[in-house]
């Protein structure tokens, strides 16, 4: 009887490993940027190619950096919530328009509304790579010292905002 105990334990341990593995979403890759300085960048603004916007636009304040594009269905999904969040003026939202077409992106903002303090136009995707972007929408919470304190992959919703972002923002505001 006892000789079945060890194989059984090993088997159950393997089952546990696989069950945990199944519940994990392999498309959510933890960002190595977490707790590290956010990338510095400067790009033409979406609204005006002659104006440069970037990390200097939101220096010394807590900000949400949202990577979006018109080809991204998830961005359309979260857009209404971003507008709502912007209207509450809890935190500025900076847009990184990634690998998009300027006319489409401008049209999107005109028709659907603009939640962003500014959007940078990253046509060739170079800045997106610095942010480790691989699938829009991606939303980064950057504190006022320029450290990435959270990354959310997939559309933002009120539930996720309340659960993941609000406590982090409160904690970050509590520390000098």
């Amino acid at each position: 009887m006892s000789k079945f105990v060890l194989p059984l334990v090993v088997f159950l341990a393997l089952v546990a490993v696989f069950v945990v593995g199944l519940t994990k979403d392999p498309s959510r890759i933890p960002s190595p940027l977490l707790q590290h300085p956010a990338p510095q960048f400067e790009l033409p603004s979406l609204a005006d190619p002659d104006v440069l916007v970037g990390s200097a636009t939101y220096a010394n304040q807590m900000v949400l950096v949202n990577i979006w594009a018109t080809w991204c269905p998830g961005c359309r999904q979260e857009h209404d919530y971003l507008l709502e969040l912007a209207s509450e003026s809890v935190i500025p939202i900076f847009g990184l328009n990634w690998r998009d077409n300027r006319a489409d992106a401008l049209n999107w903002i005109e028709v659907l509304g603009d939640p962003y303090i500014a959007s940078a136009f990253d046509m060739d995707g170079r800045v997106g790579i610095d942010w480790g972007a691989y699938g829009a929408p991606e939303t980064f919470l950057v504190d006022k010292n320029g450290i990435v304190i959270h990354k959310h992959i997939a559309p933002l919703t009120r539930e996720i905002w309340q659960r993941d972002f609000v406590p982090l923002i409160a904690a970050a505001e509590g520390t000098p």
Binding site: P26, I29, P32, L33, D124, R126, I129, G132, Y134, G135
Partner: protein, 140 residues
Amino acid sequence: MKTLSIIASLWMLSSVAVAIDVGEAFDDPKLQARYEKIISEVRCLKCQNQTIKDSNAFLASDLRREIRHMLEDGKTDDEIYEFLVSRYGDFALYRPRASGRTLILWIAPMMFLVFGAFALWRIVQRRTVLSIDDEAIDDV
């Protein structure tokens, strides 16, 4: 019949037309070889079971472009891998470097091998003892 063979040969040629990155990226065969090696070891995070060499997702082509630029700038392979890992994490490399958090990936297979060899040795040893021991055989 002639038309058929023309269609067939065109069809065979068409696979060349859809190949990713037609032509060589570098004139220097050494650089080209390094480029080929690096891009075949980097995961396309948009399409996770492909390398950036095999994928035509825009992210893969952006990463190939960045790698080409870095090779042109004389960066070493390690610097290029470091560039990718610092942005996308160890998951971006098909052969994650043996350090810290990835150590388990390298050690686990060897641990399983040792464990399996030990279990096999125990089983063989027990059977040997059993077959020598007549009483034990009678018990069975």
